[in-house]
């Protein structure tokens, strides 16, 4: 990349694997891409392509990897420090699994603030609920009193309340209905421009990724087979056969 000083996320020759020796399974092979600050990069692929594993390696949830991952110019090592978690947050796929069943919205948000030593929790919680489009009355509700879309809003609020600059999105809408998906995608777009966030999004849905991201990497069997910008994707100008197949399947689904 041209500007070395200004990077959001940069991956270079990253390999990620599970198990050792004979049982070693390579999940990601030689991945490399860069997301500028304030930019949005999407990884598309089918299940098992390794797209979510990349997010896990960045956050430290997949411990065995090699290569070079840097976030905001800092090269990541084995451990992540508090500063890292302050800067990088993640929204998970399944809003029914990503909220603790015995914690109210208030509890979840206060704990995030507490962990990073923020003052004025009441004001900040009120503000973030507003920002993600939840009424103040949601503050003391339990997860089981919320719908899928509302839960995902809480998950987004939890990620954003500590004011990170990078948000990792792991299929944030694939568990939701299309009408709710539209609300969440609009929300994520609005928050990105308001807060100048850097997005790294993973999805199996080409249409969703192309709506959200300007640069897209297509993954197949652990490798990024092709990188293209959104205009090329929309014009269906793919060069790799797998990308073509994927585009075909996504577009044909509707035509025929």
């Amino acid at each position: 990349m041209t500007e070395k000083t200004e990077t959001g996320i940069e991956l270079d020759q990253v390999n990620i694997w599970f198990g050792e020796d004979e049982q070693r399974v390579d999940a990601v092979i030689n991945a490399g891409f860069a997301v500028p600050p304030g930019g949005s990069f999407g990884l598309v692929g089918e299940s098992g392509s390794g797209k979510s594993t990349i997010l896990r390696a960045i956050t430290g949830l997949a411990p065995t990897w090699s290569g070079n991952i840097s976030v905001l110019g800092n090269r990541l090592g084995e451990k992540r420090d508090k500063e890292f978690y302050r800067a990088v947050q993640m929204v998970f796929q399944d809003p029914y699994a990503s909220l603790h069943p015995r914690q109210t919205v208030d509890h979840v948000l206060s704990e995030a603030l507490h962990l990073h030593g923020f003052d004025n929790p009441d004001k900040r919680i009120a503000q973030i609920l507003d920002d993600v489009g939840l009424k103040q009355s949601f503050r003391f509700r339990w997860p089981h009193q919320l719908s899928g879309g509302q839960r995902q809003r809480v998950a987004i609020a939890r990620a954003l309340i500590i004011e990170p600059s990078i948000l990792l999105l792991d299929e944030p809408t694939s568990a939701l209905d299309v009408s709710v998906q539209a609300e969440i995608l609009n929300l994520l777009k609005r928050l990105q421009s308001e807060r100048d966030l850097t997005y790294l999004m993973v999805s199996h849905d080409l249409a969703v990724v192309s709506h959200m991201c300007s640069e897209i990497g297509v993954m197949n069997q652990g490798e990024i087979v092709e990188m293209l910008d959104v205009a090329a994707l929309r014009a269906l100008e793919a060069s790799h056969p797998y990308t073509k197949q994927l585009l075909d399947a996504s577009v044909q689904k509707r035509r025929e």
Partner: protein, 311 residues
């Protein structure tokens, strides 16, 4: 919502305030969850029956001096081994002429003492060991679980016997011995629960918020393990009472003249053919309390079991 926190407006009944889907404060949110659990529990008749018996037991223990017709230690050799109803002994008298009813009433204190000590220590020890093993994994898991296996491999009563004979007879030592043999199953349960929870997204999420291991275990994993432990402890209580009684029966638990139920049965053993009540009355007491714990445990499982109640 404009419902004030402490005093709900007049047109809103307490019930509505508790069952609302839109709690307006931390307190209301917590209370309403408890209230819903209570409603679910209340609809289980057998569990309510068990709870009533146990509440009665606690009250009997508390008010033993008022309720007991006589001094549980007062001997009256002239009236020894009176049958129930004779000489004013409602449940009869034992070999030293002590009133069995009064002894049972005072004995409930000892039972409660044993039960609450064991319930406080064994599951907590199991929770510590199990969650640490499950969450940390690796060699910590191996070491902790092998220790657990060793304890599990001992027959309960035999280990307790060895322990008590080493430390000397007495209630406290009996309790320690029971705890020593009771914690491994709880460690197993806690570990199994932890293994299913630790890879949940909400645990990943809190880790990504920068929470340390200790915080994740105590604040996020414990609350989810506790309910299944509570259920298990309640169901185990019957067994614990029986072991305590067994130790008492063998003369290794409570020492005479203490009115411990197991020791009372042991005492009555010599007269079981001619004077059935001496052993039978404390036996019935043990039976009823054990039954109550089992019923309560069943009801609690319906309410608390995370596999059922999580949506």
């Amino acid at each position: 919502m404009s419902i004030p926190d402490a005093c709900p407006q007049k047109q809103i009944t307490w019930r509505e305030w508790l069952t609302t889907d839109t709690p307006a404060s931390r307190r209301q949110a917590r209370l309403s969850v408890w209230y819903h659990s209570w409603l679910a529990f209340r609809s289980n008749l057998m569990a309510m029956f068990g709870l009533t018996i146990l509440l009665a037991l606690v009250l009997i223990g508390l008010f033993a001096p008022i309720l007991a017709p006589q001094d549980p230690f007062a001997q009256d050799l002239a009236a020894r081994l009176s049958a129930p109803g004779v000489n004013g002994y409602m449940f009869g008298s034992d070999s030293l002429g002590r009133d069995i009813l009064s002894r049972l009433i005072y004995g409930s204190r000892i039972t409660l003492y044993i039960v609450s000590l064991v319930a406080l220590m064994a599951p907590v020890a199991g929770l510590f060991v199990g969650t640490a093993a499950g969450y940390l994994g690796g060699w910590v898991d191996v070491v902790l679980m092998r220790i657990t296996d060793i304890f599990l491999a001992f027959p309960r009563l035999v280990l307790a016997l060895a322990f008590v004979s080493a430390l000397g007879a007495g209630i406290e030592n009996a309790v320690l011995a029971i705890v020593l043999t009771a914690w491994p199953p709880y460690a197993r349960i806690a570990r199994a629960e932890t293994l299913t929870i630790r890879n949940a997204d909400f645990i990943h999420a809190i880790k990504l918020q920068g929470a340390g291991t200790l915080r994740v275990i105590t604040r996020h994993i414990w609350p989810l393990c506790i309910s299944s432990l509570v259920v298990r402890v309640t169901l185990d209580m019957a067994g614990i009472i029986l072991v305590a009684a067994g130790l008492g029966f063998l003369g290794l638990g409570a020492q005479p003249p203490s009115p411990e139920w197991g020791a009372m049965i042991s005492d009555g053993r010599r007269f079981i053919l001619d004077h059935w009540w001496v052993a039978t009355m404390p036996g019935l007491a043990i039976f009823i309390v054990s039954l109550a714990f089992n019923l309560l445990g069943d009801g609690l499982r319906d309410v608390l079991d995370p596999k059922k109640s999580s949506q």
